[in-house]
């Protein structure tokens, strides 16, 4: 029996009927075509599928889509403002914080979750917060630097009063 899922993804309201056992990443990728969110282990152990649910990082392969009912989801596709990249995206670009890019949407979404809560994290705090996020390419240091750089960019943006 299908059930109704009403939620907001990247600012857009959706009203869908889905099988109750469907996990969130399936709805995002297969129903909504938002393929920027990746699947790598499908078992909650790599964080490649991380999205924000009401502002908190969650592994979208490990929660049922219905758990997002009535809530707001942000995926990598919702990070930029039109053609204006988000400071986290700019920082990832300038710091070469990705190579293959397959873990990157998960990393950036978690970084956003972290920076929204802790606008000026130390290296160790980033390492701790990002620990479950596997990246086989970068060796993590350049991701950590990008997150610190993004923190600075966000602060500047705030000082200039333009941030959301």
């Amino acid at each position: 029996m299908k059930k109704e899922l009403k939620f907001v993804v990247n600012g857009q309201t959706y009203d869908l009927w889905i099988e109750p056992k469907t996990v969130l990443v399936q709805v995002l990728r297969d129903e909504l075509g938002l393929k920027g969110t990746k699947r790598s282990c499908d078992s909650g152990s790599c964080c490649a599928c991380t999205v924000l649910l009401n502002g908190k990082a969650v592994k979208s392969c490990s929660i049922l889509a219905l758990q997002a009912n009535g809530k707001e989801i942000l995926t990598v596709e919702g990070l930029a403002n039109g053609t204006q990249l988000h400071p986290i995206q700019e920082a990832f670009l300038d710091n070469w914080a990705f190579q293959c890019g397959f873990c990157t949407s998960g990393q950036m979404m978690a970084a956003k979750g972290l920076l929204d809560e802790n606008p000026d994290p130390a290296r160790e705090e980033i390492q701790l917060a990002m620990d479950g996020h596997l990246c086989r390419c970068t060796g993590y240091n350049m991701i950590n630097e990008a997150i610190q750089d993004a923190a600075k960019r966000l602060q500047t943006q705030e000082e200039q009063g333009g941030a959301k």
Binding site: S40, C46, L79, F98, C100, F102, C137, Y140, M142, I143
Partner: protein, 760 residues
Amino acid sequence: MKEYSIIGKPTRNVDGVAKVTGEAVYAFDMTLPNMLYGKLLRSPHPHAKIISIDTSEAEKLSGVKAIITGKDTPGGKWGLWRRFPELCDQTALAMDKVRFIGEPVAAVAAVTEEIAHEALDLIAVEYEPLPAVFEPMEAIKDDAPLVHDDFENNINTTRHIEWGNVDEAFKNADYVREDRFSLSSQHHAPMEVHNALASYDKGSKRLTVWASTQSPYFLQLGLADALKMREGDIRVIKPHVGGGYGGKNSTMPDSVNAALLSMKTGRPVKIVFNREEEFTTTEHRTAMDIAIKIGLKKDGTLVAKEVKLITDGGAYTGLGATTLYLAGTFVTFPYKTPNYRYDGVRTYTNKMWSSSMRGFGSVPAVYAAEIQLDRAANDLGIDPLEIRRINAMTPGYSASGEYTVESCGILECIDKMGKRVKEKWNDLGEDEGIGFASFAYMSGGIFNWIDTPYAFSGAMVKVNIDGTVELFTQASDIGQGHNTVSVMICAEELGIGMEDIRLHPADTATTLADLGAWGSRETLMNGNAVRAAAAEIKKMLVAVARMKLGENIVYDLVAKNKRIYLELRPERGFSYYELVKDAIKQNDGEPLIGIGHYTPHNKGMISPAYGMGIQAVRAKVDRETGLIEMKDVLVVHDCGQPINPPAVRGQVEGSTQMGLGYGLCENMPTDNGLILNPSFVDYKLIRSRDMPTIELMEVPTYEPEGPFGAKEAAEATTSPGAPALANAVYHAVGAEFDSNVLKPEKVLNAIRAKEQKGKA
């Protein structure tokens, strides 16, 4: 050093915006209308005869569109060692027997993945289990079961290398030591699993495959051999790839069976491995046992080296035969080795097969050599950096026709390391140690076991009337950033901006053959091809400019800042855009097309050039728990002229992470051929929290064979992490190791053994 406009300047990834916005498309993300989902039924036995396969129940399941077994395939065998047909041993589905746990025996295509899965459970296979063999030393015994009937003693390949007079040199050495090491396998663990989408066009009888591959050309050849089709009737397209690291060179059952199922159903078919299949049925690093003997003079000069090794090949060949070859070469680097003998054996065993992985061959070999060198230094009372300095290769060093090392900055690297360690790490605490290991690797291989008749790399540049450039190359960006490097090289050569170039990469139908991304070959080999193609265009534009200027022929013209002008009188010249228009008009409207290619010649048997350097690891050992804390890493690196510095750093960081993982925690234990840790929970990777800081120092040299002086960058840095870590632990607490993966129990045991030795 020469100042370039673009080369050597930090440059954003040309695919970067697509990757940070989620728009980059990977094979994993692709679907086609009317597409079916394929799944493979895999053997639960390490070695068994297939008595019968009954698919009738599965075929009745609604939604199942096709099921195939070995007898439904064209029976084509394939492999990467195409020059040696007997080593082309892979098949799409097992024919009469299975040789490892996980070998596919049947393939299903269905309208959903779930139905395909369900169908697998309904296929009945009757096996007759056969005795199996899992260890290389067992496999070569006369009474061992044969994995392949035609390979006596399960010997897949052997390799002998020798130069100088080894026996004589050992006799005259002041100091001789022999050590044995046992090195584990390691999995690439790319974040994107193996997957392929195949679409067969019934009308034209042509096949198109999109796959997560490191080499569209290798895949095209593998598919042609497997399907008994013409190469030209198969088009392989490589979209963005979510990591390879050597694990996506071979043609695997995902693409071949997707193709077979598509040919049978007339519909596109996609096969995606799950994470467990990725760990258990895709290639991994070659495990090996190494016996290594060195002879030195009292002052530390190396006079002789002898290496014997045996590798655990698993059930098929892959690039494993090349691993044998490279281990035998890089176990000598980067040191002058006047007398050398090597014997390597690769065995077949009843396990998933081993193949190439980042730094392949070199990673286990360097582990043995660099730990042994430290022990020798210790015995002779020589500083570990000094013994490396004494024996370091110098520019132009040649080993008896096997290889010649032109650009060679290893001495400068060692000296710089010495200075930096003194400066930065002068505060070592208790139970802390510093370990060193040198490293070197090739800039692509010269060998042609794939048997290509084409140049090793080709590129084509087409210039449109408005000066925009279309760059066509088959080179594979698998995350390392080669797309950016190609565009940078093309722009530098033409003296234009990168924004004027559109790249068309990695499509076998539209680009000239390139052997793919392995052995760090793209920067040098494809870079040379791209540069040559752009140089063709430059030549045309220079000719037009020269005519317009009417200057004396001896005057040189340069292409820079979107102009072509007289080198000595820069004000005399023309805009690039104007020259393009003139050139096309003058040439009866023909578009400007430049073609370039590269194949190494007269460069020995291994590689045209070698990147190298030295790494130091600072580690602290907890004597109570055996836990190792990696505190900091220093890398001094010679990659010739770095093309894109942040990309080079990214490669150093990433390969160091893999090397340290190999040293500390990554391995693949098996029980009767069953891999015991096929998940991210059980397979331990270095995580963000474990990762030490890394300081990278470049020692730029100029490699005459490379584009703008560039060569291999940072594949070699996969090798030093594990031995440098082991050496650091030795210097911290005196514990010695003869294998990688320094788990706490192992460290505690080694500390105890050392204490006992001290008492005795």
